[in-house]
Symmetry: C2
Subunit: 261 residues, 2 copies
């Protein structure tokens, strides 16, 4: 089986071209299909010069219809040469995960997100196979951004062999490495953990950091801690001037990256 990591390269090419590390989370509040389409398109039109990729979630995909209006959004993103990520957080049994990944890649997405909690065998293995056979990406949730994330991702796991407790997110980061994930998602609301994760992941598995803005995470802090991409939704999509908000974020993040080098 030939395996490619095209998605990782696409992302870096996009960053280089646009000088932006902002991934736009383009999920708007629930509304009627037609309105959702026109608002989604309008924000993408406004914001595209300031972002390096677009992420969509289930509620947009379901409302727009994957074989229907969604195609217009994905085609527009393609026209702007923006990679698209389906944030489906796969966490089902293997044959279902594979069916979902097949569907999302067929629809046009370049990468999917997945929950490592589901495990490898009959879990995520079939997803990695189909992704890397087709030059698509899999991003692994290592530590999410919400308050309750610590309940799951932050728990201490008893390591029978080492006779010691290890945080769940450390175990997930090691899985991201050994599974050759194309990215690891770590919440901007937990900057200390981003740093810990970066020490494990190095440059091998880039960190995507959500939770900037509406959830209280600070983009600059996440960058200093080691995040490579900042996932930003409502701080852009619900701003009075989405383009201005995206531009300002792009610039302040770029300054932070310059300060690091």
């Amino acid at each position: 089986m030939s395996v490619t990591f095209a998605f990782k390269h696409e992302m870096e090419a996009s960053v280089k071209k646009r000088r932006s590390n902002v991934v736009l989370a383009l999920d708007l509040p629930l509304q009627k299909r037609g309105e959702l389409l026109s608002k989604t398109i309008s924000i993408l039109d406004d914001v595209h010069p300031f972002v390096c990729a677009v992420k969509l979630g289930y509620h947009s995909v379901l409302t727009l219809g994957p074989f229907d209006h969604l195609q217009k959004v994905l085609t527009l993103a393609d026209d702007y040469e923006l990679p698209t990520i389906m944030d489906c957080k796969l966490n089902d049994v293997g044959h279902v995960n594979k069916a979902m990944a097949d569907l999302f890649f067929k629809v046009g997405f370049k990468a999917v997100t997945a929950n490592p909690f589901i495990g490898w065998e009959e879990g995520l293995q079939p997803v990695f196979e189909v992704a890397h056979r087709n030059g698509r990406g899999v991003l692994i949730l290592v530590h999410m951004s919400h308050e309750g994330a610590a309940e799951g991702y932050g728990r201490l796991i008893w390591d029978q062999e080492a006779k010691k407790a290890v945080p769940q997110y450390v175990i997930f980061a090691r899985k991201a490495l050994s599974w050759k994930a194309d990215g690891a998602v770590v919440g901007a609301t937990f900057p200390k953990r981003i740093k810990e994760m970066r020490d494990i992941l190095g440059d091998e598995v880039p960190i995507y950091s959500p939770g900037v803005g509406a959830q209280g995470g600070r983009a600059e802090e996440a960058v200093r801690a080691g995040a490579r991409y900042l996932i930003v939704g409502r701080a852009i999509t619900l701003a009075k001037e989405p383009a201005e908000a995206a531009k300002a974020l792009k610039s302040s993040i770029a300054r932070q990256f310059s300060a690091l080098t």
Copy 2:
């Protein structure tokens, strides 16, 4: 806020009426929308007298379109007085989970499944609120059915206060109880764990057991261990005669329940 647990009662009423504890997992292999609709409808027509509820997953819902062909399937299930469960395994941040639950309840589903790993605060709390305010149900994944499930659900979690390690699925079962879940999902492929879970959950949170048939779980064993509902997909949907397969399963499960009383 008035809270109702109507879904639990609906399920028991359906079992009583049909003398079946089989929940039909009605997800067929990926195919074109029109074909999928006619096959889905045809199986439901054949099988409805032998099952007590219908469960659908993302790949059916996405392919059929939630506001489109899916409506025909849900209306038919309603006509047959079969409760419908959306197996979305919610595992996102709170505002996304809530948007998804809102969407699925609006579309017509009576219950959703959710991954407790995501936690309560800004996690599943908003889902339970919207469900129980509207007489809908939330089923919690306590231990899934696939081989790799042990990697996540089976891990030992270090309990700092008690100074001992506790299996993840035990912690999830306790959450299912304290969150007042309408059901707990425990794989039929792990019958010993069903028994452990039943000891914790009692009659308060009924156990739904997937993995019967195609994944190797045995329905009778799951019932003896304490499962209340058996979730069966491919063993019925891919059978030469789905109605015959469902009828045979229904009967052998009913015999097992009789033997227990």
